[in-house]
């Protein structure tokens, strides 16, 4: 294992909102922090979040954190852990204020306070009238937050490893995580980063699906690193399809479009959400709206020559709202569809968007695994953001809760890491064997000869996932899907690179990203096949009802033996009464 080494107190893998919020907390506490990111930090996918971040500031309508908590529990279809949800909703307002103080250019109300808009699944007074809880910087909130967090990290002198790809975690025989082996993309040389703690903040895996709102980089690298390190993935069957992706292309059109008054119509011009969700209509939960769109299309009420999409109507909002509140999506619609939202209807269709499942953590960001009847932390390993599963989103995430999740739990993880560092003064001895294992993963791609290309396998994986693990699922379809992804996994051993150069070899990076995606694909389909009920985003046509007596529990998927295990949902909040499961109507 003769490779260069760097030593830090703490390592953060991923420079989106979660990673940067944690890094900021740590750097301000005078810990030495290394942030490893495979892209320059402001290219991380947080930058693409549009609509906003939920916090019960009550700047526009009456609100409080407890109502937010109720909405989040209900939105999760009761699979969310209520202690973590209470923690997040209570922390929300303070977290938004911190961001504002850090420079985020939020839109403003006439009284100078932060602008808030209505979003899906929000209510006042535990299921009453629509709330307005989403703090927004026009429709570029993710961009505004990510850039501000990066800027504050510049000020805090965080050490960045830009364009370094994380290959694998390093751990010792006692199960301590000791850092990671990373690859400098520019030189093609590996580097060992030793750290007393490692935080995975690598984001989601939207690239599993052919049509998605995600960036090319969203390949779930941290999820797969965790799997390979023996950590299970939790609730992977729950993948969110965003109702309004640009039809056929996938670019996101924010829920803010409906929050600001836009609505969906079918080919008859009918505002069909009134039938599916009489109360919340177009602002029902995302799982509900996505299913409704898919049903409209399936039953022949889709728009266009092939009847394969639905229209989003924005032309009645007026140019003032479009220019002021929705400038970026208006531009996107003009660029990618060549239509004008001020005059034309916008073709949309549900599109793969968000990984609800992930690396199991507690509310301090510590990665936890089941041991006997309880849970134990993996010493030195943390996860936050989309790659983690706390679980605050359960079976379905509410719009505006993802930016909140990353900042709240990035910060919480940072705080817990500071405590860990106070108790653990020294680096543990390095495990050479573990480093060698990580390097073997890299060396595998030096194999020469003929083989299938990476690009072909990736496309097959994406098509398979879309076809066999989409919005509507059945035993039969999922079983076929599982066979197919396992076959793809086996074919992967025969894949060879033709380009073996070192300098900025993106083919080699994409090969390792594809390995990651395949592991996550198998986890997703296997978990979906096993769950015989419909809950949130997991919609089983053959088991159309939620089944709390058998399935009010989290799935845990282990790579070894493709084993599934389960653990109970934490229904007990921190201080308030539990919200017991009840029928979910919008």
């Amino acid at each position: 294992m003769n490779i260069p080494k760097r030593k830090f107190d703490t390592l953060v893998i991923g420079a989106g909102g979660g990673g940067l919020r944690a890094a900021l907390q740590l750097a301000q506490a005078d810990a030495s922090v290394a942030v490893v990111s495979k892209v320059f930090p402001t290219r991380s996918h947080t930058v693409a979040a549009q609509g906003g971040m939920n916090a019960a500031l009550a700047n526009v309508l009456p609100d409080n954190w407890h109502w937010h908590m109720y909405d989040t529990v209900k939105g999760s279809d009761y699979l969310g852990d209520q202690d973590a949800i209470e923690y997040m909703c209570r922390a929300a307002s303070r977290t938004v204020i911190e961001l504002e103080h850090a420079g985020v250019p939020f839109s403003r109300l006439d009284n100078g306070k932060i602008y808030q808009r209505p979003f899906g699944g929000q209510s006042q007074d535990f299921g009453g009238a629509q709330a307005a809880r989403t703090c927004a910087a026009a429709d570029r909130t993710g961009h505004a937050i990510l850039h501000s967090l990066y800027q504050q990290n510049i000020r805090a002198k965080t050490h960045f490893f830009d364009e370094f790809f994380a290959i694998d975690l390093v751990k010792d025989d006692e199960g301590f995580v000791l850092g990671a082996v990373v690859l400098e993309i520019e030189t093609g040389e590996p580097l060992l980063i030793e750290a007393k703690t490692t935080l995975l903040a690598t984001g989601g895996a939207g690239q599993l699906f052919r049509t998605n709102t995600n960036a090319h980089i969203n390949t779930g690298d941290g999820l797969a690193m965790a799997l390979r390190a023996g950590v299970p993935l939790q609730d992977m069957e729950f993948f969110q399809f965003h109702p309004t992706g640009i039809a056929g292309k996938g670019m996101l059109i924010s829920e803010a479009a409906r929050g600001e008054g836009g609505y969906l119509v079918n080919k008859d011009g009918e505002r069909f959400m009134e039938r599916y969700a009489p109360h919340a209509k177009d602002l029902a939960s995302r799982d509900v709206v996505s299913r409704s769109i898919a049903i409209e299309v399936k039953e022949g009420r889709g728009c266009g020559p092939n009847g394969d999409y639905i229209h989003l109507k924005l032309d009645h909002l007026g140019s003032e709202v479009l220019d002021k509140r929705l400038p970026a999506i208006s531009e996107s619609i003009r660029t990618f569809l060549g239509v004008d939202p001020a005059r034309d209807l916008v073709p949309i269709y549900p599109t793969a968007h968000y990984t609800m499942g992930g690396i199991p953590t507690n509310k301090f960001g510590q990665v936890v695994v089941p041991v006997d009847t309880g849970e134990e932390e993996i010493p030195g390993l943390y996860a936050a953001g989309e790659c983690a599963c706390v679980s605050v989103h359960g079976a379905n995430r509410l719009g505006g809760n993802s930016l909140l999740d990353i900042v709240v739990f990035g910060r919480a993880a940072g705080n817990d890491i500071i405590e860990f560092l106070q108790e653990n003064h020294y680096h543990r001895p390095m495990s050479e064997q573990s480093v060698d294992q990580a390097l073997a993963r890299l060396a595998r791609w030096d194999q020469k000869g003929k083989g299938e290309p990476v690009d072909k396998i990736r496309r097959e994986l994406q098509v398979t996932m879309e076809e066999f693990c989409g919005v509507f699922r059945t035993e039969d379809i999922l079983a076929k899907g599982l066979d197919k992804v396992i076959e793809i996994e086996q074919r992967m051993t025969e894949v060879r690179l033709q380009d073996h150069s070192k300098i900025f070899n993106t083919a080699r990076i994409e090969a390792m990203e594809l390995e990651n995606l395949i592991d996550i694909g198998v986890a997703t389909v296997a978990s979906a096949l096993a769950r015989k009920e419909s809950r949130g985003a997991h919609s089983r046509v053959d088991y159309p009802k939620r089944d709390d007596s058998h399935w009010l529990k989290h799935s845990l998927y282990y790579k070894e033996g493709r084993r599934l295990d389960y653990k109970p949902v934490r229904l007990k909040p921190l201080t308030v009464e539990s919200f017991p499961p009840k029928e979910r109507v919008y």
Binding site: S44, V47, H101, R108
Partner: protein, 230 residues
């Protein structure tokens, strides 16, 4: 459609060359789509890209002589053969990938973060909609580098002139009603090079994929300096 693509792999090639490529692709697609199709056939082609919708700022390239984002430039708007090169004036790492470090270091040098000296209130700093409007056209920058790498003043003095992107960000904080570091920010930009190398050539304005106007921001900084002097 016909393409000519800048290729250079320092491990193999003695010097850069232009590769001719014919591609059967719908003209409604974007340049990035074409590059992805070419890469699917030839994995050795290196270029940066990610979100595909013009917000991450990864894929700044030079297309038929003009800087732009590959994901936002439609093939049908271009004359064939479509020439794709790295953005000019930066050290080339490989193919279409350039070393952006100098660009980033100028960005960091303008201290692009909100600076407030007063004690923090427990609520948000208040800002009127009109004050907030002043940040429009500034905060949206995605740091793609299209502007600075199209700027002759930046080509000539890449070590001393901050360049349009960094100056736009400098003004983003000067224009923020919450920021309290105006004097230091202006002082830092004084002198013959850091800002005053701008000769209002306005290439930056022409190429910005987000429709921002760094030249205007630079003029606003100059006005503030004048005001400060008086």
């Amino acid at each position: 459609m016909r393409f000519r693509i800048h290729r250079y792999n320092p491990e193999i090639d003695e010097k850069p060359y232009m590769q001719e490529v014919e591609l059967d692709i719908e003209p409604g697609k974007m340049v990035r789509d074409a590059l992805l199709r070419i890469k699917a056939e030839d994995e050795s082609l290196a270029f940066r890209h990610s979100c595909g919708e013009g917000v991450c700022g990864s894929d700044a390239i030079n297309i038929n002589g003009t800087n732009g984002l590959g994901c936002l430039v439609r093939l049908s708007s271009l004359k064939e053969p479509i020439e794709i090169r790295p953005v000019p004036g930066m050290p080339i790492i490989r193919d279409l990938v350039v070393d952006m470090e100098q660009f980033y270091s100028h960005y960091r040098a303008v201290k692009p973060y909100l600076t407030v000296h007063d004690p923090e209130p427990e609520v948000e700093y208040h800002q009127t909609p009109a004050q907030r409007d002043k940040l429009d056209g500034l905060y949206e920058c995605i740091l793609c580098g299209c502007c600075s790498t199209a700027c002759p003043s930046f080509w000539w003095n890449p070590d001393k002139f901050r360049g349009p992107a960094a100056l736009l960000q400098a003004y983003r904080f000067l224009a923020d009603s919450r920021d309290q570091a105006t004097a230091q920010r202006l002082e830092e930009l004084d002198g013959p090079f850091r800002m005053f190398r701008c000769h209002t050539i306005m290439n930056c304005v022409q190429v910005c994929p987000k429709g921002l106007n760094p030249t205007k921001a630079i003029n606003e900084i100059k006005k503030l300096m004048l005001k400060e002097m008086i």
